[in-house]
Symmetry: C2
Subunit: 270 residues, 2 copies
């Protein structure tokens, strides 16, 4: 493992890391940040392209705890003060990596595998988005599709709450709602829209593949065009009008219910 | 509605509000903070005791948008600068209230209603805790029980992610695990422990009331004593060992599955 010291705030790599807190920069460079040893290990395991690994001096002196250094070709070491200036959401973790975004196209995903899709329509909360990605991966979904207006799936908070699932399921993002609708129709994939005020409850429909489940924005719900194009608009029955379900919890319930009806090849964990 | 201006940082009410960011102060005073018009309205609707309502000058000048002022006896108005110094997590909301914590005792709850309990065992993340409370309320649980070592359910982040559910379901907190176990046993309530490595899957057990479902800490899972005392230790089948479910998603799935087996009187929303 080659050690490369960096001593200046103006170093181009550090400048790049700092810029990756911005969505526009992540998009333009097709790069994102991995924070902490755990995420970095998972990314390396799953074959995510890593452009650079950067550790703080004190994390390096501790022996890079929790990391799998056999996978590191080289590592950049920066003073603690410079590391803090990277201004990541987890500066206390001592290690960050610059990773490559692997683009997924909806056409390719639909050609490869047409089983189970999860659509997030303009979901705003990074925690909800990450949890939906994690849940979709856990239930073996073919892909997660995020419409334009959704939070960036490569923002550090989403990456963190997806807990590595981001590396194991294709994420298609920044798609216009109408593009989503036309692609699903072209491949004859049933569209099920989740909407708290629906007349039909989830258990009343046949959950069979190929299928796509759409979950809407936390405040405003699903786009009108997604609702209008859905084969079924359903709700999950809950106690009364004063309560509601969190969107990621809703996705978990729907995918669990789906798995009860369709053999997804889910295994017991041991 | 009486208007009371406050002009000093040293004002005792503002001091109290600032102190309520600390768990120890919330506990000692049995008070917590409500941030924003929406939460305040819900709290007033549900009969939560409100000790004081404080708005920023500019929020007041805008006409207190989103609030139901017919419910306000008096309101404290503070300069924007002083309002910002309250250092709440939602200073941009323009309005906060000091609300009374209504204590729930496990004995009283068990005497009143012995149907469906949700136990959070040392859950750390405020978002997860709030979402579990919200989900438990949505599925009509009798109470949420949080063991010692859990995040404070009255911390501003939990209050926010519970979305008002905190006011509609009894929350019992700071209970030793052994107290929880002995109370459930005394009332012959079946204890189901959720554990990803369990040999039994959720669908293999009979989900019937009275029942308590226990969900563990995000990193370490359930306490040994809860696992040892459980009538059933179960898992939700997912794709493979590399993935896992978020604890609030897990709670949502379990409660949904419970509702499929037991008539909880859930209604369609319209």
């Amino acid at each position: 493992m080659k050690l490369v010291p960096i001593e200046s705030h103006a170093n181009p790599l550090l400048k790049k890391v700092r810029s990756l807190n911005q969505r526009s920069k992540r998009q333009r460079l097709a790069l994102f940040l991995l924070e902490g040893a755990k995420l970095l290990n998972e990314a390396l395991d799953k074959g995510v392209g890593i452009e650079a690994i950067i550790a703080s001096q004190s994390f390096f002196k501790e022996g890079l705890p929790g990391t799998d250094q056999s996978n590191f070709d080289s590592i950049f070491i920066v003073e603690d003060k410079l590391f803090l200036e990277l201004n990541t959401t987890a500066t206390s973790c001592g290690i960050v990596a610059v990773a490559r975004i692997k683009p997924s196209s909806i056409d390719q995903v639909l050609i490869d595998n047409q089983t189970l899709f999860v659509i997030g329509d303009a979901i705003q909360d990074p925690g909800n988005t990450g949890t939906i990605i994690r849940t979709a991966a856990a239930f073996g979904a073919s892909a997660v599709i995020l419409t334009k207006g959704s939070v960036d799936p490569y923002s550090p908070k989403v990456v963190r709450s997806a807990m590595g699932a981001l590396f194991s399921i294709p994420i298609i993002f920044d798609l216009e709602v109408n593009e989503v609708i036309s692609h699903l129709a072209a491949f004859k994939i049933k569209l099920v829209a989740l909407e708290p005020s629906a007349q039909t409850v989830l258990s009343q429909i046949k959950q069979e593949t190929p299928i796509a489940y759409a979950f809407g924005n936390e405040g405003h719900g699903l786009s009108q065009s997604l609702l209008a194009s859905a084969d079924f608009v359903v709700q999950i029955p809950i106690k009364s009008t004063t309560e509601s379900l969190n969107v990621a919890v809703c996705a978990g319930i729907v995918l669990f219910s789906h798995a009860q009806h369709v053999n997804l090849g889910l295994q017991k964990l041991n």
